[in-house]
Each structure stands twice: as C-alpha cells, then as structure tokens.
C-alpha cells in the first residue's frame, strides 16, 4: 500500500510517517502543495493524506485540480479548522474523509483502512445513460464529467433508475427500493426525491409518465451522438 502524506509541519509529518510505516504503508512525503500535486499526479497512490493549510498551493486547490483531471484516488483531509462550513467545502472539493487536528493516530489509521478497503471493493460495471455515469464501486456519479454530490437516498434512486433505464418504473416500485424498511414518510416522497435528482442531473433526463411512473433516458442529442 503506497500513501502520499502532504503535510508541512515537520514534527507532525515525522510522527505520522513513522506511524504509517509501522502500520505497513509505504509513505511518500510532500511538504508543500506544489510537490503534493506533482506527486499525486504522477505516482499511483492507494490513498492521500492531505493537509489543507499547505504552503505554495493550498490543499483544497490541489484536491480540486486532481478531481478535475479525473484522479479518483481516495483523499483524507487534515485540517485545524473544524467548522461545518469548512468540512462541507472540503467534501465539495472531492475529499473522501475528514479529520480535524489534533487527532489520535489510531483514528487516522482506522479511517485510512476504511478508505483503502472501500476503494479496493469488487469491480462492478460502470452504468452509463447519456451524459450520466454512475460508478457503483466508488458510489460516485457524474453528469458530463462533473461530479455529482448526491445524498444516499438520491444515489439509491439514481442507481435504480440507471439499472432500469428506458423503462417506466412505478412509484411503488421506487419507494420499495428507496427504503430498507417500509416507513414511508408521506405520499409525495418520490416526488420530492425526483425533484431534487432532476435539479442535480437535469430536468429532461427523467420523464414523468402520467399515472405510471418515471423513466430515465438519455437526452435527445446524446442519443444521436451515439448513433
């Protein structure tokens, strides 16, 4: 397992490097954002530990660059700022996990293990419907290359629609697959989630078939592109 540690504090990086090596990882260290970006761009890491307050280029920018270039390496963010607004912007930039300084080394190692395990899950075929792509293994979806930020219920809904694209699916069927147990909150649950999903992937991609249900289909120009 090869790991990139991007951290500028010399004491903390030395400690972390030792702990990580003790835990059996191969560790590369980058003391600033520039080097971190270069290494992450060129070397095949299993996971990246990224401090947000890096010199030269800050962590969020480095992460955004990677994600724009299509890098899917799991990234765990370290930061001293623990407000929810900071966490949200970190995840927005494409982080997979988040740890607030100061932290216990054990907690870092535990989260790292979880990240690597998740990333190494069974390969499953990528689902594609026009410009919408869904990767069931990483639980990620994108529209025209732009990553989508979906809640798990929205993701479940999109996943089910993607698996049955071009088919009309009834509300009852969708509700059954949305919730594990049958505690449907109210009658317009599906409408609410459809509305949010449409807002995120584009209104025209999901068609409402009156009285029958919904159908996911590629956009008209996307079909002609394939032909």
């Amino acid at each position: 397992m090869r790991i990139l540690l991007a951290e500028d504090d010399p004491d903390l990086s030395r400690q972390l490097k030792t702990s990580l090596q003790d835990a059996g990882y191969v560790v590369d260290h980058a003391p600033d954002g520039e080097e971190a970006h270069f290494l992450g761009d060129t070397e095949p890491y299993d996971c990246v530990i990224l401090d947000l307050g890096l010199p030269k280029i800050d962590g969020v920018s480095v992460l955004e660059k990677w994600r724009r270039d299509g890098k899917t390496t799991p990234v765990l963010i370290l930061t001293a700022r623990g407000a929810w607004s900071d966490k949200v912007s970190g995840f927005d930039a494409g982080a997979d996990d988040y740890l607030t300084k100061p932290f216990h080394t054990e907690e870092l190692l535990a989260r790292l293990r979880a990240l690597v395990r998740r990333a190494a899950g069974h390969a499953q075929p990528l689902l594609v419907c026009g410009g919408v792509r869904l990767d069931p293994r990483a639980a990620r979806a994108s529209v025209n290359g732009e990553p989508l930020r979906l809640t798990s219920l929205e993701y479940r809904l999109l996943h089910y629609l993607m698996m049955h694209q071009n088919r009309v699916i009834s509300r009852t069927e969708l509700v059954e697959h949305l919730y594990d147990q049958d505690f449907d909150r109210d009658s317009n649950t599906i409408e609410v989630f459809m509305g949010r999903l449409r807002k995120k992937i584009g209104t025209d991609r999901i068609e409402t078939v009156r009285g029958l249900g919904y159908r996911l289909k590629p956009l008209a120009d996307e079909v002609s592109d394939l032909a």
Binding site: F91, Y98, T151, S152, L153
Partner: protein, 479 residues
C-alpha cells in the same frame, strides 16, 4: 463646531454651491437645503414682481384712458353738421385742448369713399398736426360704429399718445372722432413703480437668503454637534454620546449609543472568553510540565488526556467567540434547503462506514434568518450527533411556523435515545452522556448557545423512529 464660518463660507463660494455643485451628489446637505430654498424663493419673488407691475400698469392704463374715452364720446355725441355740411365741433372747456401741444387732443376726420381719411376739424392744441388712425384701428371701429376703440400711437413731436376713436355715419357721411392724450407721465409712473418693486424684492431676496442660510446652519447644528461627539468618542474623550438632541436626531444618537454599548459588550465578552481560555489551558499545561519533569511512566496517557482537554477548550471558546460576535448581525437570510443538502451529503460520507441514511425534508422557499455558517454549525452538529448515535436512519425536517417569523427543525435518529432526566444535563458545557461514543462532547452545548443567540429554543423528545428527537425553534422566513 467643525469649521469656522468664514472658512466654511469660503469653501462654499469656491464650490459654487448654488449651481455648479448640483451634479456632484450627494454633496453637502447645507448646500442642498440652501439651493432648494433659494431657487424656489427667487422664482416666487420674480413672479410676484412681474405680476404686481403688470397689474399696476393695467390699472393705471384703464384709469388713464377713461379720460380720452370720455372726450371722444363727447365729441361723438355733440358734433353737428351745419347747412353747408361743415363740421361744428362742440366747445370744450378744458383749456388743455386750446393750448398748443398741451398733450390733450381731439380731431374729427371724414372717411372718403375709397377709405382715405381727411381731417375736417381738430383741437387747437394739435395746431396743424394729426393724430393718425392706423388702418387696422379703422377697420376695427367700422365694425362697431358708435363705440370707442383704444390704441397707442405717436403724435405731435414724437409724443406717445393713448387715443380713443369712434366711427359713425352722419347724414350718409362717415366720420371718425379721435381723442388722444400724452401718456408719458403715466408710463413714467408705471416704470417708477416697477423700479421700486424691483428694489424691494432684491432687498427681500437678500434678507431671506441670509435667513435661509442662517436657518439651515442653525437647524443643522445638532448634526454638527453629533459629529463632534462621535469624534470625541473615537478620540476616547467620551464613552458614549450624552448630548441632548432634537427629536429627529435623538434616535440616531440612541442607535449610535446602542452600537457603542453592544460593541463594548462584545469586547467585554471576548475579554472574558480569552481569560477563561487562558485559565482553562493553564491547568493541563502545568500537568504536562510537571509530568515531563518527573519522567512519569504514564506520560503518553497524560499527554493524550491533557491535550484532549485543551483541544476541547480551544474549540469551545473559538465557537463561543464566533457566536458572540455574530449574533448581532441582522438581515441575513440563508436558504434552508441547500444547507441541509450539503450537510446530508457530507455527513453520509463521513459516516459511510456505518451506511447512515439521512432523509431530510424542507420547503424550497424556507430560509433561516441569520448567517449561513451559524446555521451549518447548528444543524451540522445536531446531525453529526444523530449520526454517532443512530443505527442507520436519520430524519431531518424543517417547516415554517404558521404565523410567527420562526421555523421548526427536527432531527431524529433511530438509536438508543436518551433518558428524560438527562435532557438538561447534556447542554452543559463539555458534558457527554456516554464516553464510549466518539466526539468532543461540546457539540450540543455549542448548538444550544448559538440557538439562544438567535432567540431560538432547543428541546429534546423521544423520536417516533426510536431514538432522540431534537426540536429547534429558529428565526425563519419565506424567501
């Protein structure tokens, strides 16, 4: 007082407040007021003088021409033709008609078949001159025989005359009777009147401008005084504004005092927080210091515990300080839906190993009346707490209250819940119900503090899906 009147006047003249400065808004309030008042006032004065002079002129003229009208009338009614067809004018007793070029004249003319006018008889005062009858006047009086028409004409020696002419037929012959009087005296009178009016108006204008000027300066004096006082406060000579102001300015002074007080209060609170924090950090630091000297074998444990404590303290005070500084801000609105969406996505990712499902509902048009960061902090901490305790499911619901400007947000989880008798305890700073679950234990007390800063409420209950239900009352609005 900010400036000496002379300096102020000089700068006012330099800036030509009256006209040139108009484009450069907002400019000076004094300038605006004076300009507005004087434009209106001077306009009113000009209109008044023109109208007055006009009326006076009209009245004088009417009185003046009564005389010639009378004369023309007498001429018309008393003139006769003798047997030979010659004109026999009446005899007038007014000696002015006898004295040459006296200024009062009459004449009788005959209008020929081709419209040519020949004077048949004239007053002695006319000597050999005529009072001309212009063609348009002739046409005019022909249309109304027997009635006098008045007109202006130049008479003997170039004198301006006011004349009255009457047209009539006597025994088949057409005659024009004209009486005229030199109007020089009357015109001079009217001119003198206009001149006097003008002088009076100019004096009035100057006086009033000075009055407007003074009134504006004196009227705005409380404002200058306020500026002076604020300056004193900034310079540290005063703590708050204590001057007495007119009822229009007093609210401003009160508001400024309010600001100063709240500023003082925030400062005071910050000072307390810094003091508290410093104090709170000193204990762990001294423990660390002494342990390091003793080379205690439990050193790693001690270091961990003490740094944990310090982290908690730092977090707590940072958030408190922020809450204290922000609770004063007004007018900000944060749409609820996007914040819930962001937090749900983020927290599901943080707790992915647990596969947490956050089911949130909020009307699209609902907004929190406050800062986005505070709302994120309140809701984020509550959902995080729910994530820690839940088995799998979390429900977040935001609804607008029917008629008051508040909204209700509930966060429920399907975890083990909390015994009722401990509801109060959790809000206490740093209290943690179960040491076994991760978390600094500060989350809920910070939420409570923020909610209170916004005038809201935090209550606990049992959730319908099993665990704890946290209900928040927060300032809300429809966007």
């Amino acid at each position: 007082m900010p400036e000496k009147p002379t300096g102020w006047l000089a700068s006012w003249l330099k800036r030509k407040v009256f006209w040139a400065d108009r484009s450069s808004q907002p400019g000076s309030l004094v300038g605006h007021l004076i300009r507005l008042a004087s434009v209106w006032f001077i306009l009113a004065l000009v209109v008044t003088s023109v109208t007055l002079t006009g009326f006076f002129h009209q009245a004088q003229l009417e009185r003046f021409q009564q005389n010639v009208g009378q004369l023309a009338d007498n001429l018309y009614s008393d003139t006769d033709l003798d047997m030979d067809g010659k004109i026999v004018p009446p005899s007038f007793f007014d000696t002015r008609t006898q004295r040459v070029y006296s200024g009062l004249y009459w004449q009788v003319s005959e209008v020929g078949a081709n419209g040519e006018v020949t004077v048949q008889s004239r007053s002695r005062s006319l000597w050999n001159d005529d009072v001309p009858v212009p063609a348009d006047v002739l046409a005019d009086i022909r249309a109304t025989p027997g009635r006098a028409s008045f007109y202006d004409v130049t008479g003997p020696q170039g004198a301006p005359l006011r004349a009255a002419a009457i047209y009539t037929l006597i025994k088949g012959r057409a005659f024009v009777f004209v009486a005229a009087e030199d109007r020089t005296m009357m015109d001079a009178g009217v001119r003198r009147f206009g001149f006097l009016i003008a002088i009076a108006m100019v004096i009035l204008a100057l006086g009033s401008l000075a009055a407007i000027f003074l009134q504006v300066r004196i009227g705005l004096r409380p404002l200058f005084k306020l500026t002076g006082e604020i300056h004193d406060v900034r310079e540290g000579r005063k703590v708050r504004l204590d001057g007495r102001y007119p009822t229009e300015i007093m609210p401003v002074a009160n508001q400024i005092n309010g600001f100063l007080d709240s500023n003082q209060e925030v400062l005071e609170r910050q000072r307390t927080h810094v003091g508290n924090l410093a104090h709170a950090l000193k204990t762990p630091l001294s423990v660390l210091l002494s342990s390091s000297q003793d080379a205690d074998e439990n050193l790693p444990d001690i270091v961990r515990r003490q740094t944990e404590t310090m982290r908690g303290q730092v977090d707590h005070h940072l958030r408190r300080a922020r809450a204290a500084a922000r609770s004063q801000t007004m007018g900000e609105r944060t749409p609820v839906e996007p914040v819930l969406d962001e937090l749900a996505v983020t927290l599901e990712q943080v707790f992915r190993s647990k596969d947490v499902v956050i089911d949130w509902r909020a009307p699209e048009d609902l907004a929190f009346r406050g800062e986005k960061q505070d709302f994120q902090e309140i809701i984020g901490n509550l959902i995080e707490n729910a994530c820690i305790w839940c088995r799998k499911n979390i429900r977040v619901t935001a609804v607008a209250e029917a008629d008051v400007p508040f909204m209700t947000v509930t966060v429920e989880d399907d975890g083990p819940g909390m015994p009722e008798e401990r509801y109060d305890e959790v809000l206490k700073r740093g209290a943690r119900l179960d040491e076994s679950a991760p978390g600094s234990g500060l989350g809920l007390s910070i939420v409570d503090e923020l909610v209170r800063a916004y005038g809201g409420e935090l209550t606990f209950d049992r959730a319908t899906i099993g665990g704890l239900k946290v209900t928040l009352k927060l300032p809300g609005a429809r966007v």
